[in-house]
């Protein structure tokens, strides 16, 4: 029994190592790398806020609504404005 479990773990490790080495995309590995590289729902939660990408438009919107603005300015921020 333990031999079979150890054998299965060994095979999984070999498969994982092979995957890690596989840096050339293939038809077979495409779905795996697609999922790996795209952001998860958790990583995209910041998009639940309807950000304005243009500061001036945000100012106009805030003025029309009589609301303060949260201004997020960052090199490399998630909106891609690096």
């Amino acid at each position: 029994m333990w031999m079979r479990i150890a054998g299965t773990i060994g095979l999984l490790c070999v498969a994982a190592a092979a995957l890690a080495q596989q840096v050339e995309p293939t038809e077979e590995s495409f779905p795996h790398w697609k999922q790996y590289l795209q952001q998860s729902a958790q990583e995209q939660r910041w998009q639940e806020i309807a950000w304005h990408a243009v500061f001036w438009e945000g100012v106009q919107h805030a003025r029309a609504q009589d609301k303060p603005m949260l201004l997020w300015v960052m090199n490399g921020h998630p909106l891609g404005c690096t």
Partner: protein, 308 residues
């Protein structure tokens, strides 16, 4: 960010007015990065440069309290011209309507030999996103002339060289620099028709890129800005699938992987202790249409397009 900090148009001047009231005081050469709670009139209510959610909440609550204390005319200020009426030159004005707009996501791939002293923090799971823009006529150049299975097309070199310069860069942990045209050693991109259904043509995309640069630059961020002899490089193999609608004259589906190896670092991309060759991956998919998905590519100014 650097445009807002140093530009002269109305939008930049409003930001600089706000920044001068903030913790960095708008001093030249000092980064004004961070989050600010401000009034539309340009009064700073609170500011912070931290990703700690509790400190962020406290800062926003503090800003909201100050907002409530200000009279409306001070909060709102005089009426402002529309964006079109100003001299603001936003890169988003170059958005190629009807073209191919791709969201570009990058991450490190699993490694067989991780660095001896890995950064045990956010850098372990870092990712970044950018965009790649193609004008409608450029997108059409990716499709073989004849819509028949087996037809091939070598996509114009200028398009893949642009991707290699501007998008196949190591921005996983932070901002970096594009490669120069002279740094591109290899850039091929081919499309083969694999399916034709009515007026929809499905393509298999393959290709290869390699860029290398050598010179004097810092890899130490703001703390160690002194240039030292450096090398960096990025090599990938491409594989993707895309569908082009001949009637709509645009892509209706697009997914492409670029997997390969990077090495070296640049001043702000946080690779100071991770310079050896390591696997990296990038995926290109169709972007949406929200304002956050219409943000200009980071290196649009290196496209050679006329800026509006």
């Amino acid at each position: 960010m650097s445009r807002l900090q140093s530009g002269r148009d109305a939008e930049c001047q409003l930001f600089q007015k706000i920044a001068r009231q903030g913790r960095a005081g708008g001093r030249p050469g000092v980064s004004q990065q961070g989050t600010y709670v401000v009034t539309p009139s340009g009064v700073l209510l609170a500011d912070l440069n931290s990703s700690d959610p509790l400190r962020m909440r406290e800062m926003m609550e503090r800003g909201l309290e100050r907002w409530k204390q200000l009279p409306q005319e001070e909060r709102l200020g005089p009426e402002l011209p529309t964006l079109e009426q100003t001299d603001v030159r936003r890169p988003e004005r170059s958005y190629p309507e009807g073209g191919l707009i791709l969201r570009v996501s990058s991450r490190d791939l699993p490694r067989e030999n991780p660095p001896a002293r890995p950064d045990a923090d956010w850098r372990q799971t870092a990712w970044n996103r950018d965009f790649a823009w193609f004008k409608p006529e450029e997108a059409r150049q990716m499709v073989p002339e004849k819509a028949a299975v087996g037809e091939m097309r070598e996509i114009p070199a200028a398009l893949i060289r642009r991707l290699a310069r501007c998008n196949l860069v190591d921005n996983v942990r932070g901002e970096t620099q594009p490669y120069a045209e002279a740094n591109i050693e290899r850039a091929t991109w081919n499309a083969e028709v694999v399916k034709v259904e009515g007026r929809e043509v499905t393509l298999r995309l393959t290709g290869e890129t390699r860029a290398t640069a050598e010179g004097m630059w810092s890899i130490g961020g703001l703390r160690r800005p002194e240039p030292t002899p450096q090398k960096r490089g990025h090599a990938t193999k491409l594989l993707g699938r895309a569908t082009y609608d001949l009637d709509k004259q645009r892509f209706t589906a697009f997914e492409m992987l670029a997997l390969g190896t990077r090495y070296g670092g640049s001043q702000y991309n946080q690779r100071g202790n991770d310079l050896d060759p390591a696997p990296i991956g990038t995926i290109f998919v169709l972007a949406g249409d929200s304002p956050a998905e219409r943000v200009a590519p980071a290196f649009l100014r290196h496209y050679g397009w006329e800026q509006h």
